[in-house]
Protein backbone atom coordinates (compact mmCIF):
# COMPACT_ATOMS: atom_id res chain seq x y z
CA UNK A 1 0.00 0.00 0.00
CA UNK A 2 1.81 3.10 -1.18
CA UNK A 3 -0.95 5.68 -0.64
CA UNK A 4 -0.44 8.43 1.90
CA UNK A 5 -4.05 8.17 3.06
CA UNK A 6 -6.46 5.33 2.31
CA UNK A 7 -10.11 5.12 3.24
CA UNK A 8 -11.76 1.71 3.25
CA UNK A 9 -15.50 1.29 3.72
CA UNK A 10 -15.83 4.44 5.81
CA UNK A 11 -19.32 4.85 7.27
CA UNK A 12 -20.62 7.71 9.32
CA UNK A 13 -24.12 8.29 10.62
CA UNK A 14 -25.73 11.12 12.53
CA UNK A 15 -28.61 9.51 14.39
CA UNK A 16 -30.71 7.88 11.70
CA UNK A 17 -29.06 9.72 8.83
CA UNK A 18 -26.19 7.86 7.20
CA UNK A 19 -23.96 10.54 5.70
CA UNK A 20 -21.05 8.38 4.48
CA UNK A 21 -22.11 5.04 3.13
CA UNK A 22 -18.91 3.10 2.70
CA UNK A 23 -16.31 5.36 1.15
CA UNK A 24 -13.15 3.96 -0.47
CA UNK A 25 -10.56 6.52 -1.46
CA UNK A 26 -6.77 6.63 -1.92
CA UNK A 27 -4.70 9.78 -1.77
CA UNK A 28 -1.13 9.36 -2.91
CA UNK A 29 1.81 11.34 -1.56
CA UNK A 30 1.86 14.78 -3.24
CA UNK A 31 -1.48 14.20 -4.94
CA UNK A 32 -4.30 16.72 -5.03
CA UNK A 33 -7.76 15.17 -4.80
CA UNK A 34 -10.90 17.24 -5.29
CA UNK A 35 -14.29 16.27 -3.88
CA UNK A 36 -17.26 17.66 -5.76
CA UNK A 37 -20.96 17.06 -5.32
CA UNK A 38 -24.13 18.88 -4.47
CA UNK A 39 -24.92 20.39 -1.08
CA UNK A 40 -25.53 17.75 1.57
CA UNK A 41 -23.73 15.01 -0.34
CA UNK A 42 -21.30 14.55 2.56
CA UNK A 43 -18.11 16.35 1.47
CA UNK A 44 -17.58 18.24 4.72
CA UNK A 45 -18.35 15.20 6.82
CA UNK A 46 -15.89 13.08 4.92
CA UNK A 47 -13.12 15.63 5.43
CA UNK A 48 -13.91 15.89 9.13
CA UNK A 49 -13.72 12.11 9.39
CA UNK A 50 -10.29 12.08 7.74
CA UNK A 51 -8.62 14.02 10.53
CA UNK A 52 -10.74 12.40 13.25
CA UNK A 53 -12.84 15.44 14.13
CA UNK A 54 -15.74 13.01 13.74
CA UNK A 55 -15.27 9.40 14.90
CA UNK A 56 -16.34 7.08 12.10
CA UNK A 57 -18.82 4.30 12.73
CA UNK A 58 -17.21 1.66 10.60
CA UNK A 59 -14.39 1.18 8.13
CA UNK A 60 -10.68 1.94 8.20
CA UNK A 61 -8.53 4.99 7.59
CA UNK A 62 -4.89 4.21 6.90
CA UNK A 63 -2.33 7.00 7.25
CA UNK A 64 1.16 5.92 6.22
CA UNK A 65 0.16 2.32 6.82
CA UNK A 66 -1.37 2.83 10.28
CA UNK A 67 -5.11 2.50 10.87
CA UNK A 68 -5.93 5.79 12.58
CA UNK A 69 -9.62 4.91 12.86
CA UNK A 70 -8.83 2.40 15.60
CA UNK A 71 -11.31 3.29 18.37
CA UNK A 72 -9.64 4.46 21.53
CA UNK A 73 -6.65 5.89 19.73
CA UNK A 74 -5.61 9.37 20.92
CA UNK A 75 -6.64 11.62 18.02
CA UNK A 76 -4.43 14.57 18.98
CA UNK A 77 -1.13 13.51 17.37
CA UNK A 78 -3.00 12.46 14.21
CA UNK A 79 -4.74 15.80 13.93
CA UNK A 80 -1.39 17.52 14.20
CA UNK A 81 -0.27 15.61 11.12
CA UNK A 82 -3.32 16.47 9.01
CA UNK A 83 -4.25 20.13 8.74
CA UNK A 84 -7.78 21.27 7.91
CA UNK A 85 -9.19 24.65 6.88
CA UNK A 86 -12.90 25.35 7.07
CA UNK A 87 -15.28 27.32 4.94
CA UNK A 88 -15.90 29.77 7.78
CA UNK A 89 -12.19 30.34 8.65
CA UNK A 90 -12.88 29.95 12.42
CA UNK A 91 -10.02 32.15 13.50
CA UNK A 92 -9.89 32.81 17.24
CA UNK A 93 -11.32 36.33 17.45
CA UNK A 94 -9.52 37.28 20.66
CA UNK A 95 -6.02 36.71 19.27
CA UNK A 96 -4.02 38.60 16.69
CA UNK A 97 -3.22 36.83 13.43
CA UNK A 98 0.24 35.81 14.57
CA UNK A 99 -1.05 34.56 17.95
CA UNK A 100 -3.67 32.51 16.14
CA UNK A 101 -0.89 30.89 14.18
CA UNK A 102 1.49 30.36 17.09
CA UNK A 103 -0.91 28.91 19.65
CA UNK A 104 -0.92 25.30 18.49
CA UNK A 105 2.84 24.90 17.81
CA UNK A 106 3.63 26.54 21.14
CA UNK A 107 1.32 24.30 23.13
CA UNK A 108 1.77 21.01 21.33
CA UNK A 109 5.43 21.17 20.32
CA UNK A 110 6.67 23.21 23.24
CA UNK A 111 8.30 25.82 21.02
CA UNK A 112 8.74 29.40 22.17
CA UNK A 113 7.56 32.45 20.30
CA UNK A 114 11.15 33.26 19.39
CA UNK A 115 11.74 29.75 18.02
CA UNK A 116 8.69 30.06 15.83
CA UNK A 117 8.99 33.62 14.68
CA UNK A 118 11.36 33.22 11.72
CA UNK A 119 9.42 30.46 10.05
CA UNK A 120 6.06 32.01 10.73
CA UNK A 121 6.95 35.46 9.48
CA UNK A 122 8.23 33.73 6.37
CA UNK A 123 4.82 32.11 5.92
CA UNK A 124 3.04 35.41 6.40
CA UNK A 125 5.37 36.98 3.90
CA UNK A 126 4.91 34.25 1.36
CA UNK A 127 1.13 34.66 1.47
CA UNK A 128 1.28 38.45 1.28
CA UNK A 129 0.29 39.17 4.86
CA UNK A 130 3.57 40.36 6.35
CA UNK A 131 1.99 43.68 7.34
CA UNK A 132 -1.09 42.07 8.86
CA UNK A 133 0.52 39.85 11.50
CA UNK A 134 -0.53 41.97 14.46
CA UNK A 135 -4.08 42.56 13.22
CA UNK A 136 -7.08 40.93 14.84
CA UNK A 137 -9.46 38.85 12.72
CA UNK A 138 -12.17 41.50 12.67
CA UNK A 139 -9.65 43.94 11.20
CA UNK A 140 -9.03 41.63 8.24
CA UNK A 141 -11.03 41.02 5.07
CA UNK A 142 -12.55 37.59 4.47
CA UNK A 143 -9.80 36.63 2.04
CA UNK A 144 -7.11 37.71 4.46
CA UNK A 145 -8.75 35.80 7.30
CA UNK A 146 -8.90 32.67 5.18
CA UNK A 147 -5.23 32.99 4.32
CA UNK A 148 -4.38 33.35 8.02
CA UNK A 149 -6.37 30.17 8.67
CA UNK A 150 -4.29 28.37 6.05
CA UNK A 151 -1.06 29.70 7.58
CA UNK A 152 -2.30 28.54 10.98
CA UNK A 153 -2.74 25.01 9.66
CA UNK A 154 0.60 25.06 7.82
CA UNK A 155 2.46 26.26 10.90
CA UNK A 156 1.93 22.82 12.40
CA UNK A 157 3.94 21.44 9.46
CA UNK A 158 1.27 18.91 8.58
CA UNK A 159 1.99 16.03 6.23
CA UNK A 160 -1.19 16.71 4.34
CA UNK A 161 -3.93 19.33 4.17
CA UNK A 162 -7.72 19.21 3.91
CA UNK A 163 -9.66 22.18 2.57
CA UNK A 164 -13.44 22.49 2.92
CA UNK A 165 -14.89 24.94 0.38
CA UNK A 166 -12.51 27.57 1.61
CA UNK A 167 -13.63 30.15 -0.93
CA UNK A 168 -17.39 29.82 -0.73
CA UNK A 169 -17.87 32.44 2.00
CA UNK A 170 -15.80 35.01 0.12
CA UNK A 171 -16.83 37.85 -2.19
CA UNK A 172 -15.90 36.97 -5.80
CA UNK A 173 -13.05 39.45 -5.97
CA UNK A 174 -11.38 37.86 -2.91
CA UNK A 175 -11.54 34.26 -4.17
CA UNK A 176 -8.50 34.67 -6.40
CA UNK A 177 -6.03 35.46 -3.65
CA UNK A 178 -6.97 32.33 -1.71
CA UNK A 179 -6.78 30.07 -4.77
CA UNK A 180 -3.29 31.46 -5.41
CA UNK A 181 -2.27 30.05 -2.06
CA UNK A 182 -3.48 26.60 -3.11
CA UNK A 183 -1.56 26.83 -6.38
CA UNK A 184 1.55 27.65 -4.40
CA UNK A 185 1.04 24.66 -2.09
CA UNK A 186 0.43 22.38 -5.05
CA UNK A 187 3.73 23.46 -6.53
CA UNK A 188 5.51 22.57 -3.30
CA UNK A 189 4.09 19.08 -3.54
CA UNK A 190 1.73 19.20 -0.55
CA UNK A 191 -0.70 16.28 -0.37
CA UNK A 192 -4.18 17.81 -0.41
CA UNK A 193 -7.86 16.92 -0.34
CA UNK A 194 -10.14 19.71 -1.33
CA UNK A 195 -13.92 19.97 -1.25
CA UNK A 196 -14.82 22.66 -3.74
CA UNK A 197 -17.47 24.02 -6.03
CA UNK A 198 -14.94 25.94 -8.14
CA UNK A 199 -15.04 23.50 -11.02
CA UNK A 200 -12.59 25.51 -13.10
CA UNK A 201 -10.07 25.35 -10.34
CA UNK A 202 -10.59 21.61 -9.81
CA UNK A 203 -10.08 21.01 -13.49
CA UNK A 204 -6.91 23.11 -13.54
CA UNK A 205 -5.11 21.62 -10.57
CA UNK A 206 -6.62 18.34 -9.34
CA UNK A 207 -4.89 15.04 -10.04
CA UNK A 208 -8.06 13.17 -9.25
CA UNK A 209 -11.67 14.31 -8.89
CA UNK A 210 -14.28 12.37 -6.89
CA UNK A 211 -17.95 12.98 -7.40
CA UNK A 212 -19.90 12.42 -4.17
CA UNK A 213 -23.60 11.76 -4.25
CA UNK A 214 -25.71 10.97 -1.19
CA UNK A 215 -22.75 9.73 0.82
CA UNK A 216 -21.13 7.57 -1.84
CA UNK A 217 -18.26 8.20 -4.25
CA UNK A 218 -20.17 7.65 -7.45
CA UNK A 219 -17.31 8.25 -9.83
CA UNK A 220 -13.64 9.04 -9.50
CA UNK A 221 -11.23 9.80 -12.30
CA UNK A 222 -8.46 12.13 -13.39
CA UNK A 223 -9.81 15.67 -13.59
CA UNK A 224 -9.76 16.07 -17.34
CA UNK A 225 -11.49 12.74 -17.87
CA UNK A 226 -14.23 13.32 -15.29
CA UNK A 227 -15.10 16.76 -16.57
CA UNK A 228 -14.97 15.97 -20.28
CA UNK A 229 -16.32 12.42 -20.24
CA UNK A 230 -18.28 11.59 -17.10
CA UNK A 231 -19.58 8.02 -17.06
CA UNK A 232 -22.47 8.19 -14.64
CA UNK A 233 -25.80 9.81 -15.42
CA UNK A 234 -25.84 11.68 -12.10
CA UNK A 235 -22.39 13.09 -12.64
CA UNK A 236 -23.47 14.37 -16.03
CA UNK A 237 -26.56 15.98 -14.50
CA UNK A 238 -24.54 17.60 -11.73
CA UNK A 239 -21.90 18.96 -14.11
CA UNK A 240 -24.58 20.26 -16.43
CA UNK A 241 -26.01 22.22 -13.54
CA UNK A 242 -22.81 23.77 -12.26
CA UNK A 243 -20.69 24.40 -15.33
Amino acid sequence: MNAKLSLRGVRKRFGDLEVCKGIDLDVAEGEMVCLIGSSGSGKSTLLRCMNLLEPIDDGEIWLDGVDIAEPGLDPQPIRQRIGIVFQSYNLFPHMSAVENVMLAPRRTKGLSRADLMPRISQLFEKFGLADRMQHFPDQLSGGQQQRVAIIRALAMEPEMMLFDEITSALDPELVGEVLDVLRELRQQGMTMVLATHEMGFARELADKVCFLDAGMILEQAPAEQLFSAPKEERTKAFLARVL
Partner: protein
Protein backbone atom coordinates in the same frame (compact mmCIF):
# COMPACT_ATOMS: atom_id res chain seq x y z
CA UNK B 1 -18.35 66.22 -3.02
CA UNK B 2 -17.95 69.64 -4.64
CA UNK B 3 -20.43 68.41 -7.20
CA UNK B 4 -23.00 67.83 -4.46
CA UNK B 5 -22.41 71.21 -2.89
CA UNK B 6 -22.99 72.90 -6.23
CA UNK B 7 -26.25 71.09 -6.87
CA UNK B 8 -27.46 72.09 -3.43
CA UNK B 9 -26.61 75.65 -4.19
CA UNK B 10 -28.43 75.57 -7.53
CA UNK B 11 -31.62 74.21 -6.02
CA UNK B 12 -31.88 77.41 -4.02
CA UNK B 13 -31.58 76.32 -0.38
CA UNK B 14 -28.15 77.45 0.75
CA UNK B 15 -27.07 75.77 3.99
CA UNK B 16 -27.09 79.18 5.67
CA UNK B 17 -30.81 79.80 5.07
CA UNK B 18 -32.89 77.71 7.54
CA UNK B 19 -35.47 75.39 6.00
CA UNK B 20 -39.04 75.60 7.19
CA UNK B 21 -38.54 72.45 9.25
CA UNK B 22 -35.57 74.01 10.99
CA UNK B 23 -37.60 77.12 11.79
CA UNK B 24 -40.46 75.03 13.10
CA UNK B 25 -38.19 72.77 15.13
CA UNK B 26 -36.37 75.68 16.68
CA UNK B 27 -39.67 77.09 17.91
CA UNK B 28 -40.78 73.68 19.17
CA UNK B 29 -37.48 73.27 20.96
CA UNK B 30 -37.79 76.63 22.65
CA UNK B 31 -41.32 75.89 23.77
CA UNK B 32 -40.46 72.42 25.03
CA UNK B 33 -37.45 73.66 26.94
CA UNK B 34 -39.73 76.15 28.61
CA UNK B 35 -42.26 73.43 29.40
CA UNK B 36 -39.57 71.06 30.69
CA UNK B 37 -38.05 73.73 32.85
CA UNK B 38 -41.40 74.80 34.19
CA UNK B 39 -42.64 71.29 34.94
CA UNK B 40 -39.35 70.29 36.56
CA UNK B 41 -39.40 73.35 38.73
CA UNK B 42 -42.99 72.89 39.75
CA UNK B 43 -42.35 69.30 40.77
CA UNK B 44 -39.33 70.34 42.81
CA UNK B 45 -41.18 73.23 44.40
CA UNK B 46 -44.09 70.95 45.24
CA UNK B 47 -41.73 68.52 46.95
CA UNK B 48 -39.86 71.18 48.85
CA UNK B 49 -43.00 72.98 49.99
CA UNK B 50 -45.48 70.19 50.55
CA UNK B 51 -43.54 67.49 52.34
CA UNK B 52 -42.68 69.71 55.32
CA UNK B 53 -46.40 70.29 55.74
CA UNK B 54 -46.97 66.62 56.59
CA UNK B 55 -47.91 66.33 60.28
CA UNK B 56 -44.91 64.24 61.30
CA UNK B 57 -42.35 65.86 59.03
CA UNK B 58 -40.52 67.53 61.82
CA UNK B 59 -40.21 64.29 63.75
CA UNK B 60 -39.02 62.48 60.65
CA UNK B 61 -36.55 65.19 59.87
CA UNK B 62 -35.22 65.01 63.38
CA UNK B 63 -34.88 61.22 63.22
CA UNK B 64 -33.72 60.77 59.65
CA UNK B 65 -32.18 63.98 58.39
CA UNK B 66 -30.57 65.30 61.52
CA UNK B 67 -27.61 67.45 60.58
CA UNK B 68 -25.98 67.22 63.98
CA UNK B 69 -26.16 63.42 64.11
CA UNK B 70 -25.07 63.22 60.50
CA UNK B 71 -21.97 65.28 61.14
CA UNK B 72 -21.15 63.31 64.26
CA UNK B 73 -21.56 59.87 62.69
CA UNK B 74 -20.52 60.24 59.07
CA UNK B 75 -16.75 59.95 59.64
CA UNK B 76 -17.29 56.81 61.72
CA UNK B 77 -19.51 55.34 59.01
CA UNK B 78 -16.99 56.08 56.30
CA UNK B 79 -14.34 54.40 58.39
CA UNK B 80 -16.55 51.35 58.95
CA UNK B 81 -17.15 51.25 55.21
CA UNK B 82 -13.47 50.50 54.81
CA UNK B 83 -14.24 47.12 56.34
CA UNK B 84 -16.92 46.55 53.68
CA UNK B 85 -14.38 47.42 51.04
CA UNK B 86 -11.82 45.09 52.56
CA UNK B 87 -14.22 42.18 52.88
CA UNK B 88 -15.22 42.84 49.28
CA UNK B 89 -11.59 43.04 48.21
CA UNK B 90 -10.67 39.64 49.55
CA UNK B 91 -13.99 37.97 48.70
CA UNK B 92 -14.16 39.06 45.06
CA UNK B 93 -11.11 37.17 43.79
CA UNK B 94 -12.08 34.08 45.80
CA UNK B 95 -15.56 34.25 44.29
CA UNK B 96 -14.21 34.65 40.79
CA UNK B 97 -11.89 31.66 41.17
CA UNK B 98 -14.45 29.42 42.87
CA UNK B 99 -17.10 30.39 40.33
CA UNK B 100 -14.74 29.50 37.52
CA UNK B 101 -13.87 26.18 39.13
CA UNK B 102 -17.54 25.28 39.60
CA UNK B 103 -18.33 26.28 36.02
CA UNK B 104 -15.58 23.95 34.82
CA UNK B 105 -16.90 21.17 37.09
CA UNK B 106 -20.29 21.46 35.42
CA UNK B 107 -18.62 21.34 32.02
CA UNK B 108 -16.62 18.18 32.85
CA UNK B 109 -17.40 15.50 30.27
CA UNK B 110 -15.47 12.37 31.23
CA UNK B 111 -17.72 9.81 32.92
CA UNK B 112 -15.30 9.37 35.81
CA UNK B 113 -15.96 13.00 36.59
CA UNK B 114 -19.68 12.38 37.06
CA UNK B 115 -19.53 13.15 40.82
CA UNK B 116 -17.80 16.43 39.98
CA UNK B 117 -20.57 17.30 37.54
CA UNK B 118 -23.26 16.41 40.08
CA UNK B 119 -21.39 18.39 42.69
CA UNK B 120 -21.42 21.41 40.40
CA UNK B 121 -25.16 21.08 39.82
CA UNK B 122 -25.97 20.63 43.50
CA UNK B 123 -23.70 23.49 44.48
CA UNK B 124 -25.23 26.03 42.13
CA UNK B 125 -28.78 24.90 42.86
CA UNK B 126 -28.42 25.02 46.61
CA UNK B 127 -26.56 28.28 46.98
CA UNK B 128 -28.63 30.13 44.42
CA UNK B 129 -31.73 28.89 46.21
CA UNK B 130 -31.01 30.22 49.70
CA UNK B 131 -31.33 33.75 51.05
CA UNK B 132 -27.82 35.13 51.58
CA UNK B 133 -28.62 36.02 55.17
CA UNK B 134 -29.58 32.43 55.94
CA UNK B 135 -26.32 31.06 54.52
CA UNK B 136 -24.40 33.62 56.52
CA UNK B 137 -26.12 32.48 59.72
CA UNK B 138 -25.66 28.80 59.09
CA UNK B 139 -22.07 28.94 57.87
CA UNK B 140 -20.96 31.79 60.08
CA UNK B 141 -22.15 30.16 63.27
CA UNK B 142 -22.02 26.52 62.26
CA UNK B 143 -18.55 25.78 60.96
CA UNK B 144 -16.67 27.54 63.76
CA UNK B 145 -18.55 25.17 66.05
CA UNK B 146 -16.75 22.18 64.53
CA UNK B 147 -14.17 22.80 67.23
CA UNK B 148 -11.76 25.09 65.50
CA UNK B 149 -9.33 26.96 67.74
CA UNK B 150 -8.90 30.68 67.45
CA UNK B 151 -8.10 32.38 65.08
CA UNK B 152 -9.67 29.77 62.79
CA UNK B 153 -13.16 30.33 64.12
CA UNK B 154 -13.22 34.02 63.16
CA UNK B 155 -16.50 35.34 61.77
CA UNK B 156 -14.48 37.11 59.08
CA UNK B 157 -13.31 33.80 57.71
CA UNK B 158 -16.66 32.06 57.82
CA UNK B 159 -18.70 35.07 56.86
CA UNK B 160 -16.47 35.46 53.84
CA UNK B 161 -16.94 31.79 53.09
CA UNK B 162 -20.71 32.27 53.15
CA UNK B 163 -20.47 35.10 50.64
CA UNK B 164 -18.11 33.07 48.49
CA UNK B 165 -20.47 30.09 48.51
CA UNK B 166 -23.50 32.12 47.46
CA UNK B 167 -21.89 34.42 44.95
CA UNK B 168 -19.64 31.84 43.34
CA UNK B 169 -22.78 29.85 42.56
CA UNK B 170 -24.16 32.82 40.63
CA UNK B 171 -20.82 33.57 38.99
CA UNK B 172 -20.48 29.91 37.98
CA UNK B 173 -23.84 30.01 36.23
CA UNK B 174 -22.90 33.18 34.40
CA UNK B 175 -19.55 31.78 33.28
CA UNK B 176 -21.20 28.56 32.20
CA UNK B 177 -23.65 30.46 30.04
CA UNK B 178 -20.64 32.29 28.59
CA UNK B 179 -18.96 28.96 27.78
CA UNK B 180 -22.14 27.69 26.16
CA UNK B 181 -22.33 30.79 24.02
CA UNK B 182 -19.00 30.04 22.29
CA UNK B 183 -19.79 28.37 19.00
CA UNK B 184 -18.87 24.72 18.54
CA UNK B 185 -16.81 25.66 15.47
CA UNK B 186 -14.25 27.34 17.72
CA UNK B 187 -13.71 24.09 19.59
CA UNK B 188 -13.54 22.25 16.28
CA UNK B 189 -10.90 24.61 14.97
CA UNK B 190 -8.80 24.18 18.10
CA UNK B 191 -9.16 20.39 18.04
CA UNK B 192 -8.21 20.27 14.37
CA UNK B 193 -4.89 21.93 15.27
CA UNK B 194 -4.21 19.10 17.70
CA UNK B 195 -4.79 21.12 20.87
CA UNK B 196 -5.82 19.12 23.93
CA UNK B 197 -9.25 19.66 25.53
CA UNK B 198 -7.62 21.48 28.41
CA UNK B 199 -5.71 23.83 26.15
CA UNK B 200 -8.80 24.41 24.04
CA UNK B 201 -10.74 25.45 27.12
CA UNK B 202 -7.93 27.56 28.50
CA UNK B 203 -6.74 29.38 25.42
CA UNK B 204 -9.73 29.39 23.08
CA UNK B 205 -13.03 29.02 24.90
CA UNK B 206 -12.53 30.66 28.30
CA UNK B 207 -10.97 33.94 27.15
CA UNK B 208 -13.92 34.53 24.83
CA UNK B 209 -16.51 33.28 27.31
CA UNK B 210 -15.25 35.45 30.14
CA UNK B 211 -15.11 38.53 27.95
CA UNK B 212 -18.73 37.93 27.03
CA UNK B 213 -19.89 37.75 30.63
CA UNK B 214 -18.03 40.73 32.05
CA UNK B 215 -21.15 42.95 32.28
CA UNK B 216 -23.26 40.24 33.91
CA UNK B 217 -20.52 39.53 36.43
CA UNK B 218 -20.11 43.20 37.16
CA UNK B 219 -23.74 43.37 38.22
CA UNK B 220 -23.12 40.40 40.52
CA UNK B 221 -20.15 42.10 42.14
CA UNK B 222 -22.16 45.25 42.71
CA UNK B 223 -24.75 43.10 44.45
CA UNK B 224 -21.95 41.52 46.48
CA UNK B 225 -20.73 44.91 47.66
CA UNK B 226 -24.22 45.54 48.99
CA UNK B 227 -24.61 42.14 50.60
CA UNK B 228 -21.38 42.53 52.54
CA UNK B 229 -23.64 44.51 54.88
CA UNK B 230 -25.34 41.25 55.87
CA UNK B 231 -22.11 39.97 57.41
CA UNK B 232 -22.82 42.34 60.29
CA UNK B 233 -25.36 39.82 61.58
CA UNK B 234 -22.56 37.49 62.65
CA UNK B 235 -20.33 40.09 64.25
CA UNK B 236 -18.16 42.22 61.97
CA UNK B 237 -18.82 45.88 62.60
CA UNK B 238 -19.09 47.10 59.04
CA UNK B 239 -21.01 50.15 57.95
CA UNK B 240 -24.51 48.76 58.45
CA UNK B 241 -23.74 47.53 61.97
CA UNK B 242 -21.90 50.74 62.75
CA UNK B 243 -24.98 52.65 61.63
CA UNK B 244 -27.01 50.40 63.94
CA UNK B 245 -24.70 51.13 66.85
CA UNK B 246 -25.00 54.87 66.19
CA UNK B 247 -28.73 54.42 65.87
CA UNK B 248 -28.86 52.92 69.38
CA UNK B 249 -26.49 55.49 70.72
CA UNK B 250 -28.32 58.53 69.33
CA UNK B 251 -31.75 56.87 69.11
CA UNK B 252 -31.77 58.30 65.59
CA UNK B 253 -31.98 56.86 62.07
CA UNK B 254 -29.81 59.50 60.40
CA UNK B 255 -26.78 57.17 60.41
CA UNK B 256 -28.70 54.83 58.09
CA UNK B 257 -29.23 57.70 55.67
CA UNK B 258 -25.51 58.43 55.87
CA UNK B 259 -24.75 54.79 55.11
CA UNK B 260 -27.17 54.95 52.15
CA UNK B 261 -25.30 57.94 50.72
CA UNK B 262 -21.98 56.12 51.01
CA UNK B 263 -23.40 53.10 49.20
CA UNK B 264 -24.92 55.23 46.46
CA UNK B 265 -21.64 57.02 45.86
CA UNK B 266 -20.09 53.68 45.02
CA UNK B 267 -22.85 51.65 43.42
CA UNK B 268 -24.50 54.22 41.16
CA UNK B 269 -21.42 54.85 39.00
CA UNK B 270 -20.64 51.13 39.00
CA UNK B 271 -24.18 50.20 37.94
CA UNK B 272 -24.13 52.87 35.25
CA UNK B 273 -20.94 51.46 33.87
CA UNK B 274 -22.25 47.89 33.94
CA UNK B 275 -25.41 49.03 32.12
CA UNK B 276 -23.28 50.76 29.54
CA UNK B 277 -21.25 47.60 28.92
CA UNK B 278 -24.40 45.50 28.78
CA UNK B 279 -26.04 47.80 26.23
CA UNK B 280 -22.94 47.87 24.09
CA UNK B 281 -22.90 44.10 24.07
CA UNK B 282 -26.60 43.82 23.21
CA UNK B 283 -26.10 46.25 20.32
CA UNK B 284 -23.19 44.23 19.00
CA UNK B 285 -25.23 41.07 19.18
CA UNK B 286 -28.19 42.33 17.14
Amino acid sequence: MSDTAQQTGLAGASPAKPTRREIYEASVRRRSNRIALFSTLSVIVAIVLLIPLAPGWEAVQRSFFNGRVFAATFPGLAEAFLLNVMIFAWSAPLIALTGLAIALCRDARAPALFPLRMFGVAYTDIFRGLPVVLVIYIVGFGIPGLGLPRPWNSPYIWGTLALVLVYSAYVAEVIRSGIDSIHQSQRSAAASLGLSDGDTMRFVVLPQAIRNVVPANMNLFIALQKDVALLSFIGPVEIFRQAGVYKSLYANFTPYVGAALIFLALTVPATRYADYLMNKQNKQRS
